[in-house]
């Protein structure tokens, strides 16, 4: 249907716009795709390349994705992408971002070349603080990790 095509195009453009505003670059960009985003939450995914730099040392001869990196993936997709979407109307293009707290439990290891899906639900976004409940699933749909992540996000020209 024509209407759906329009909506899909609009959504894809919107997601591309958010990805283009992410302040991260390789080797610390951990968002490949956004699948959906609304004012209440976001879903996105990332595939860990086999040659990611941290596998050389974590662990020696036994590459497993570090928990801090899994946390970073959840923060970039679940909090920063959502925050950029929520601040889409902000006058300024530049947004100050700071991670302020994480509380994550881990359940399954993630190995090189695995794709993970991140789902985030907004708890609140008030006074520039965005707090989300975030979970990560592997390609079998198994829970990898889950918890709460908060960050401060505000336009640089905020007066």
């Amino acid at each position: 249907m024509a209407v759906n095509t329009f909506n899909n195009d609009y959504a894809l453009q919107n997601y591309a716009h958010i990805l283009s505003k992410l302040p991260y670059r390789k080797p610390f960009l951990f968002v490949d795709r956004l699948h959906s985003i609304t004012e209440n939450g976001v879903e996105g995914s990332y595939t860990f390349p086999e040659d990611s730099y941290f596998y050389a040392g974590h662990f020696a001869g036994n590459p497993i994705t570090p928990g801090v990196i899994l946390t970073e993936v959840m923060a970039q997709i679940g909090v920063v992408c959502l925050g950029l979407f929520l601040l889409a109307d902000a006058q300024s293009g530049d947004i100050d971002i700071a991670l302020t707290s994480t509380q994550i439990d881990f359940y399954k290891p993630v190995f090189p070349t695995e794709t993970v899906l991140v789902r985030s639900t907004k708890d609140y976004f008030r006074f520039h603080k965005l707090k989300c409940t975030v979970e990560m699933l592997n390609s079998n749909g198994e829970l990898v990790c889950r918890g709460a992540i908060s960050g401060m996000m505000k336009p640089k020209k905020y007066a």
Binding site: A98, T100, S101, Y124, R126, F127, H128, K129, S150, G151, M152
Partner: protein, 85 residues
Amino acid sequence: MQTKEELIETLKKIVKPYVQDEQAFENLTEDTDFIKDLKINSANLVDIALDVEEAYDIEIDNESMERMLTVGAAVEIIMSKLQST
């Protein structure tokens, strides 16, 4: 309605979990600055505002939040919100 002293006592209970400087907390006055003296970060200051809203069933607007930097300012904001409801 609570007196100013009672308000400060309630506020102290709300603030306590976020305090990083215990000595400044023990010597708390109306001039105590949440960030400079109690070493609370801006994200936890938001949590304090949300806890205050819940405790008093009030809504803190953005302008009030920007002024809410000291114990005295917080007490003044709570009192004015309570009076206007």
